[in-house]
Symmetry: C2
Subunit: 421 residues, 2 copies
């Protein structure tokens, strides 16, 4: 986005400077950096802190969840989330407290043990490349970089990655082994992949025989409207396209129950699950099955999960509305932003070359924003224009106050840029 002449008229350097000086003097301390649930959201799961209860530890199958064993996780929790994710429970593993950790582990195993279809371990490849639809989830990129995997950004279109570009790249380059996807209410753009995008990802010819879609379905049930935007079943799409082993699905309850003490899931084809199970039995004697049981008791069933998510929505919606309210009042014509139907983020796009300056100004005024560029591979936003806003954690009043501050910073950065030309 380049600022139109009309928009430049909206920002006056002198008044922007005055507004910012007042803001800085106010000595705020607010944080819009991370997609953390608020304490009120965590309170929704207060019951889980005393579950399963002293005499409740035997699973429906008669397993003593307190003891060792059962590397695939408790079947009851896999059934509940299998239903929600559209994955047969037998192809869904329940693991520890963090899907990021599970993604880490799956990458480690792919590096050190050939995945089904692979000619060799990824660590034995000359070079491994991942496609990174951007802006995307910074922790995906940090994890990828940590393993020395080269990241190639791909544009997002509003209904998923630019598939012409993706198809062109994977067709000819066998070094490209994977693509990161947050397919529903994507972090940070909020978009959901269209059926056509999912089908093309599932069916596209890839030069690498061991290409994988890393499908981080982090916001599968995290609606912010009545719409419940549908997402095509990627596992079925891959199977139908004759590429049954192409996708690794990840999910977790981190933003359903407790962010630090939830349950993570891995779903895939029978062959991929068998591959992971084979290395998992060396890695651990089993996940925390008591925590699995705790979640089973808390939810009851899949409908219980959905009912619980409505309570999250009731807390989140006003925070998102507060963001839009301030953005509309203050930045119409100056910046653009998303209005996601679910998830945790608003993506704010300021005029090119202004994002880093906005974040810097905000920081000086006591407002923590995610570093500019952090939603891009290597932390580099080529246009320096995108800022991720995470309104879930602060109170509605704090969100409003923080957003007003952000608006002041955006106006000053834009005015300064215009003045410098």
């Amino acid at each position: 986005m380049s600022l139109s002449a009309a928009a430049q008229d909206l920002v006056d350097l002198e008044s922007a400077r005055k507004e910012y000086a007042t803001l800085r003097d106010a000595g705020l301390k607010l944080d819009l950096t991370r997609g953390k649930p608020s304490p009120e959201q965590l309170d929704l799961s207060a019951a889980i802190l005393s579950l399963p209860g002293a005499n409740d530890y035997v699973s429906a199958e008669g397993i003593d969840t307190r003891n060792y064993g059962g590397v695939e996780g408790l079947i009851e929790i896999r059934e509940i989330f299998g239903k929600l994710l559209g994955i047969p429970a037998q192809q869904l593993l329940a693991a520890g407290n963090a899907s990021l950790n599970l993604m880490h582990d799956v990458l480690v195993h792919a590096l050190l043990t050939p995945v089904p279809g692979a000619e060799r371990r990824w660590v034995d490849e000359e070079e491994v490349v991942f496609l990174c639809p951007s802006p995307g989830y910074d922790r995906h990129f940090a994890l990828t970089e940590r393993f020395g995997i080269r990241m190639v950004p791909v544009a997002l279109t509003g209904e998923g990655p630019d598939m012409d570009e993706v198809e062109r790249l994977v067709a000819s380059d066998a070094r490209i082994k994977a693509i990161w996807c947050v397919p529903k209410y994507s972090n940070p753009t909020g978009e959901t992949y269209s059926d056509e995008v999912v089908r093309r990802l599932a069916a596209m010819p890839t030069a690498a025989p061991d290409f994988r879609i890393l499908w981080d379905n982090a916001y599968a049930v995290h609606d912010l409207t009545d719409e419940q935007v549908p997402l095509l079943n990627v596992l079925e799409a891959c199977a139908e396209a004759g590429n049954p082993d192409r996708v690794f699905v990840f999910a977790s309850t981190s933003k359903i129950t407790l962010a630090g003490a939830g349950v993570a899931f891995f779903g895939s084809s029978a062959a991929n699950v068998a591959w992971l199970n084979k290395v998992l039995v060396k890695q651990t004697i089993g996940p925390d099955k008591v925590n699995h049981l705790r979640h089973v008791r808390f939810f009851g069933d899949a409908d219980g999960v959905l009912a619980h998510m409505q309570k999250h929505r009731a807390l989140l919606e006003p925070r998102f509305e507060a963001v839009y309210e301030v953005l509309e009042a203050e930045l119409t014509g100056i910046a653009t932003w998303t209005r996601p139907k679910g998830g945790y983020f608003v993506s704010l796009e300021v005029p090119d070359g202004c994002a880093a300056e906005v974040v810097r100004l905000a920081k000086e005024a006591g407002i923590a924003l995610t570093p500019a560029g952090s939603a891009f591979p290597y932390g580099k936003d080529p246009r320096d224009h995108q800022i991720r806003l995470a309104p879930s954690f602060p109170s509605v009043d704090e969100v409003r106050e923080a957003m007003r501050a952000v608006a002041v910073c955006v106006k000053l950065a834009v005015a300064e840029q215009a003045a410098a030309k």
Copy 2:
């Protein structure tokens, strides 16, 4: 051990066959395979199943344990176990539910990121070799084998590994990157490393600049007598010897609270902890801090842990006594066995060439024993003489019954061997 003429007189083939036939007809179904706590032991931690309680989630430092963050784990639980393990809390990380998983992860990180002092990642070495004091913990060996690391067995002496052999090997061979140690009440021999062994491990010159002691202190507080066998502080010994970064310490509450839902620990030098932390922040947003708090509330303090361990001892001692009682009555002069002062295992040594046959006979009679050889690298006991007995899980009566059955199998195997000569 080769059977003396006197011992051979003790076993008569005909009566051994008769005894075994009777045993097999009895149709028993008993299991002495794994070091699993019994349900009664797990009941000791029943309170933990409803902790921390609905309104209890803030740590002493004011952290909301329910939310994301704090990759190093809750400071209170690190302080409690730091005291018990002799490791400053700042150098001790609290992690997920399984120390095996933590060992897996540390090996993964050493394979993929140079450890302090290393010239390169272990995955980039021509070959990596680990020393494996044997008999040892089968899951250490399975994990090592899984990563393609070559295992070299080293004899145990009753007070730790044969240090002359260890020193000779590590001094000249830079491919040797680590040694597995279960230093206290070792699995399965029950021995505790002497101060001299610990000092020699800490001080020995190694050809590899990045040599590590993998110190799995799994039974640090798991006494079966009043003696509480002391173990030298390996971290201090390494620092004093000028090799502060040499040791990775592992521990867990798996055999203190709930086997599947405990807390695992990693302790080391400041440099090693910083190395691990740096990769951990890419791997996860944090461990299950609610489970850490749950354990803090349950124990109260380090003395609480020790008091709790006395309850375990009260349940375990009669089971071990039942093992000795039957072994003494039935196998004196025929086999030898350990009488550990702590831990979970009795190591039974039968005449060379008989162990696999004993396990086979037992299986046919409905008694599950750990496969012969499983306590050795690659599952190969060169003398085919060692059997690991795990009496913790069955009831005292079942232990006695199982041991009587084992004795029958040992006598038959020995008699058959003698007859075949």
